[in-house]
């Protein structure tokens, strides 16, 4: 502040407005289900990663729910070592939920209002879904409540640096041509916030890892086509009020091609996936002792250390 005066902020609404248009999202994903197999590399990659994780955990998951677009790839890839018995596979889009021929029962469900009874599942995997949920803490809390004690949640969604090349190109083109910018891509969750979100939802032993996947596209337009094929183009509310001008898009594609050429032709796009894991609390899990519960006195310990 140069003049030393604070300008009063506009009154904050009591309810935060919805950032994501979930109806539009469902339409996008219904449409994307038709040719999903041509645009599923990210989802297949996540499914493999999930299987690897399940195989290293020595325990039986009697009841599991795999949720999100491409969730059926997890069911299809299950191995005896992953030790999962009953699976329900679902998505927010009915057409997306039906994909796959693995024989697991199907479900259409909204991540913002999951229909699972409390303590009914041992394992929930959320695949590429939490990035467009309006109330992320509530959605995570719902999942936690659906888990039995010592149940596991794995959530995979795009991280902060995903598609940073595209975001930056659009931003630069728009400010160059119109002198202003409007959000064209959804904001993604930073990995540093992810662990905190898990803890806030009451999940124990939270771990957040990052999968970084650089992908080469023939040109930036093929990247956009791939995003559309995944059903992952922006569903920000208000984005329809300011449609992207053709000249801005053309300039953005130029900037993209100039700034992020790939070795051997084409352009680079970064996909970054946050892999969150957390456990529903259970007495057997490691946790700090309660203050005052120590059986040996600190004083004695210091004294004996001094003698040595």
């Amino acid at each position: 502040m140069t003049n030393g005066h604070l300008t009063p902020k506009a009154g904050q609404p009591a309810q935060p407005p919805a950032i994501f248009d979930r109806t539009l999202l469902r339409q996008r994903q219904d449409r994307a289900s038709k040719a999903f197999a041509d645009h599923d590399f990210l989802h297949r990659h996540i499914a493999e990663d999930v299987i690897d994780r399940l195989e290293t955990i020595i325990r039986t998951f009697h009841r599991a729910a795999f949720l999100g677009p491409g969730a059926h790839y997890i069911t299809e890839a299950l191995t005896p070592a992953s030790d999962v018995s009953h699976v329900v596979s679902g998505a927010f889009s009915p057409a997306m939920a039906r994909l796959g021929t693995d024989g697991a029962p199907r479900l259409t469900a909204d991540e913002e209002a999951l229909p699972f009874a409390d303590s009914s599942l041992d394992l929930i995997v959320s695949m590429m879904a939490l990035q467009s949920v309006n109330k992320l803490p509530e959605a995570l809390a719902r999942m936690r409540a659906a888990l039995r004690p010592d149940g596991l949640l794995i959530a995979a969604f795009p991280g902060e640096r995903s598609l940073h090349e595209l975001r930056d190109s659009l931003y630069r083109a728009e400010s160059e041509i119109t002198g202003g910018v409007s959000p064209r891509l959804s904001p993604f969750t930073a990995i540093k916030d992810a662990g905190g979100l898990m803890q806030r939802a009451g999940l124990a032993l939270p771990v957040a890892d990052l999968i970084r996947l650089p992908v080469t596209y023939r040109n930036p337009m093929t990247l956009l086509a791939d995003l559309r094929g995944m059903g992952e183009t922006s569903v920000l509310t208000g984005r329809r009020k300011q449609t992207l001008r053709k000249d801005v898009l053309v300039r953005a594609m130029e900037i993209y091609a100039e700034t992020w050429p790939a070795d051997g032709g084409g352009v680079t796009a970064t996909f970054e996936i946050v892999m969150l894991t957390g456990w529903a609390p259970h007495a057997s899990q490691q946790k700090p002792l309660k203050p005052g519960s120590a059986k040996a006195s600190l004083e004695d310990a210091v004294k004996s250390a001094e003698k040595d």
């Binding site: 329900v88 927010f92 009915p94 939920a97 024989g103 029962p105 909204d110 209002a113 999951l114 229909p115």
Partner: protein, 65 residues
């Protein structure tokens, strides 16, 4: 799955065990003939299409009694 004789619109019993109404969090009644899952508390009937429960408020039928 070896069970090819299952009727088209029946819901997996193991799935039914774990479902609740997403709006009221109350229990659901399975109406096999109408192919609906009924939440008496929320007065909503969720459709079952080809054996798949559609647990979305926007797709549910309102029960007005």
């Amino acid at each position: 799955m070896s069970d090819h004789t299952a009727p088209d619109n029946s819901v997996d019993p193991k799935l039914l065990e774990i479902l609740v109404c997403p709006v009221s969090r109350g229990p659901l009644r399975y109406d096999r003939n109408a192919a609906e899952l009924i939440s008496d508390k929320a007065k909503l009937a969720y459709p079952i299409r080809d054996g798949m429960p559609i647990m979305l408020e926007a797709e549910a039928r309102r029960l007005d009694d």
